[in-house]
Symmetry: C2
Subunit: 589 residues, 2 copies
């Protein structure tokens, strides 16, 4: 019933009017990534998402994946295999992968925009190549030449897919507890034995081979997260024989039912070491930023589609009269978009979506600068931004994306609760994004316990520097003032935390979640103020319709409606300290 | 995997220590409702919920209801029929119904507590008799003697169930748009024709007869909500013949899958008028308070079970070490309840649940006073409280109950997302409670546009009077001060609104949702401060364990941690007015 159209104007506005992403073509290796080229790629991607990914989404949810305990095989929903094949043939698997192995070598920013469309139209399907991408990054960065040569071309072409095998029944967050073992063999390979759970795409029927990246422990390795190594374990070995890495069953989940979430049993499977011994976690972390940003974009993508559906509904559904008299006098009632409370739900979505998109693309832009800029100081500054923004993007976009989708559902009343309108699926699918790739609580701890302190506390300094530079660039004094007030509120909270957390690390643990929200608000304020400025400049230019620009300008006002009092609340929460949380004895809950 | 235990201590604490509900036995007709008797009934109810309702919940969700298009029959999930039969035989259907027709005539407050347990253990199943209860109320209040004699005994005994047929494809909120027709017949009956949708329990296999209450229009009736009449339409007529009121299909929904949500086609079905012509909406509204309070309790009940599951999980799941050093040194990791951020999620639940329970029971207590007290001024005051609290209970308990369940799921990480732990089902089931029986936006408009203004604005005055009396009763000066500050914040917002809404009704529409939240916070603050006082008094008494009392006292502190800054935010939201919502042209969204 619902039909998504990629918000190309919104996307291009952020890319070229706000971020000036055409500048990426001046970076070494990105010469082809001109504005014209990026626009053309996005145009193609939008058609692909709308026409290939979208049609299989609802049926995929209803049908789900099927497991056959006899063969250990997994069947994906009808149409997934064909859609994936079209995806791979279109070269989308290797969009940002190295040209050395057949990738297109385009900016990561571009991949983020394309990911957004894929997440909007079929998250379950998009996750199979999404996991491949993580494997491609890890191999590109850490594997020896021979392994690269053997596995990268097929992963990049999409002929094969990849997985990340981290979680075990007894450990998710705390990977130091891993029990999977790797026994060295005479030929330089390893025998991998153990059980992994929640493995996305661990087994499926869309490709001929699956390349598992598996965390395991070598004999005698330290009994902590410093004793974990990373291994490549293919489903089929070079000689075509089946490696004993079998799917033991599928999880039954609230959402993303078209994505095969597998129990994987490694029964002495042959594998090869990636990177150095006991440095498996380090290898995983190098691809974590991109993976976490992508999960954030899932929250955004799902919420975008929900917004489109609910906005269409609000314009069509006739129910009750406007409080100021009939707006559609020829009908028996007015469209519900006339009601202030319905607009409240729509505006909450619009403000989240467009601000979050700007924040995600801004971070993606810095990811490319961090990798490719020829000036080391620019690379460093951009890397700081990426490092500190990554947990924010992951947690804020998935939390608020969920609540945005929730508002879409609510604004549609009973219709939103039925499967007819897809929004309930988007809400279920989006629930997992707040959990996997590190729960949002873990993101908050990563921000508070790690990102604020590493490199002598340089990351938050860079954050403030970059934000202040953007604020200095504004020409709306009121926006400027509000952004400054927000940053000052954040700075106050950070000062309090700096003193308290030194005395007691639990203060940082207690402050983590509201602190991440406060950071998010600050970044959002700068994004919205900047977008409002660019929209104001664009009025009358004809580049986009004036209604488009006006929508941005007015949405910025709606964002600032509550930003300051929300920030005050988070600061109060932080400065209330740990006591009401930690004073409770276990038996008092 | 999960096992709910009715929180009898928490329930009894609110009933007898906070509300002094033993006083209900002094009301005429409630002589039997002594503390001893109420405790005994709740003890029985808890066993019933835990042992009869609970076991069918998860399977009922997976199996769902089945529709047969040949016969128009609906099959409920395995075990539902037997569980319902046990429920009816136990006399639970008529717990608060009039003794004249076989009910037990017990206080409505008691029914609310029992409802909470039913909602915790199997909402889908509990909805069938829940709808009967609405029909019982409507018939008791408005039907002529003959109809009462014919239908009330079987509804009250649970031998038959009832429905409410309001919604049609073109109208949910706006019932003035109803098209179902009622043609008067020579024998005094009416021929009912039309299609109703989203009819809970419209057709099912658990009972021999179903009594539909149907809103329809008489010939020549006004074309608005003032032209609607209410009819009783049984599935089987007295002579045993089938009345043409057929199920045309089931909705496919996000949750409450064991509850049959039916399309109902009335094809010239025989019906009888209830109440006066064109006063159907009035008849529905008399049962609306009880129905809306019950939906609020659904949000509470689901969240209670989710809390129990997540609390158990947090005590058992070992992952990472406490930030202040190992707490379970003999294990490889500490239980996750040691982590501040996990406690944040648990405390949010505890504070919501126990405060909301107190608020719901407080309102239920006043519902009984409003009906039964022999002093008219007490009845009036209690009715004011019920009237103003009803939309608050409905919206706040279902919204926050959903978010509380959401926190339970989040605190369990990936486990929460799987069907193994039931929390994801509780979240899906709870999503509808924010929509049906009037969306929460409609509740906010009911509060702002109706409850604040009727009876010359007496309701909010009574609210402040009762709250201030409870505040005066406190002995903790800090709590007293904070409660007063919250009420003052609310009063300020009401003053602003009083002035603005007179000039422009859309200001009230724009303010409605944050105003309801602000009211809720005020009521919650008085409930928590009162509970803290009673808990403080109870320390060392041995009535409950000291850990129980300490838990209440500390949770009250956690509630007040953020209450004031949240209230400021809502006030700012209200006073920001309608402009950022209403200034948007439709094309600017």
């Amino acid at each position: 019933m619902a039909s998504y159209k990629a918000p190309l104007n919104d996307m291009n506005f952020v890319l070229f009017d706000v971020l000036k992403a055409d500048g990426l073509s001046q970076l070494p290796g990105f010469e082809d990534a001109t504005e014209e080229m990026i626009r053309a790629v996005l145009e193609e991607a939008s058609k692909f998402a709308e026409n290939v990914f979208q049609p299989t989404n609802q049926d995929g949810d209803i049908e789900g994946c099927q497991y056959d305990p006899e063969t250990h095989n997994v069947t994906t929903p009808k149409g997934f295999k064909e859609a994936y094949k079209t995806f791979a043939e279109g070269g989308w698997s290797g969009l940002s992968a190295t040209t050395e192995y057949g990738g297109q070598g385009l900016p990561h920013l571009l991949k983020i925009v394309v990911d957004e469309m894929a997440c909007s139209t079929n998250l379950s399907l998009g996750m199979y190549p999404g996991l491949s991408h993580g494997a491609i990054d890890a191999l590109t960065e850490h594997a020896e030449q021979e392994l690269k040569d053997k596995y990268l071309p097929q992963l990049i072409s999409g002929e094969w897919t990849g997985t990340m095998c981290l979680t075990e029944p007894q450990c998710g967050t705390d990977l130091g507890l891993i029990r999977t073992k790797a026994e060295p063999q005479a030929d330089g390979s390893y025998n991998i034995s153990g059980t992994k759970i929640w493995i996305t795409g661990g087994e499926h029927d869309m490709v001929d081979n699956i390349v598992h990246l598996v965390l395991a422990k070598l004999p005698g390795a330290p009994d902590s997260s410093k004793g974990i190594s990373l291994f490549l374990v293919p489903k089929f070995l070079e000689d075509g024989s089946r490696n004993p890495a079998f799917c033991g069953g599928l999880e039954h989940k609230m959402g993303i039912k078209g994505s095969a979430t597998c129990v994987m049993n490694f029964e002495g499977a042959k594998g090869w070491l990636i990177g150095k011994e006991n440095e498996g976690l380090k290898c995983m972390f190098t691809m974590m930023n991109a993976a976490r940003i992508m999960v954030g974009v899932q929250g955004l993508g799902l919420a975008e589609k929900a917004y489109q559906i609910s906005l269409g509904f609000a314009k069509e559904r006739l129910q009750s009269r406007s409080l100021t008299g009939p707006k559609s006098p020829d009908e028996k009632a007015d469209p519900i978009i006339v009601h202030p409370d319905v607009r409240r739900m729509l505006m909450q979505q619009k403000v989240f979506l467009e601000g979050a998109r700007c924040m995600a693309y801004f971070t993606g832009y810095h990811l490319d600068l961090a990798h490719k800029h020829d000036d080391e100081s620019v690379r460093e500054e951009s890397d700081d931004i990426v490092q500190i923004m990554t947990p924010i993007i992951k947690a804020y976009l998935t939390d608020e994306g969920f609540f945005s989708t929730d508002q879409a559902l609510q604004s549609m009343g009973g219709s939103g609760f039925t499967q007819d309108w897809e929004v309930e699926q988007l809400l279920r699918d989006g629930r997992i994004a707040r959990i996997y790739e590190g729960t949002n609580g873990i993101q908050a701890l990563d921000l508070t316990g790690r990102k604020l302190t590493i490199k002598g506390g340089r990351l938050p300094k860079t954050f403030f520097k970059v934000m202040n530079a953007m604020i200095a660039d504004l020409d709306n004094a009121e926006h400027q003032e509000k952004c400054k007030t927000l940053l000052k509120t954040l700075q106050g909270a950070l000062m309090w935390l700096g003193q308290e957390a030194m005395k007691d690390p639990e203060q940082a643990g207690a402050a983590a979640t509201p602190l991440l929200k406060l950071f998010s608000l600050c970044a959002m304020s700068v994004m919205w103020a900047t977008m409002a400025k660019k929209a104001n400049e664009g009025l009358g230019s004809g580049k986009y319709e004036d209604a488009f620009y006006q929508g941005k300008i007015k949405a910025a006002e709606h964002f600032f409606r509550l930003a300051l009092s929300q920030a005050e609340m988070h600061k109060a929460d932080i400065e209330a300290g740990k006591s009401t949380l930690m004073d409770m004895a276990e038996g008092e809950f």
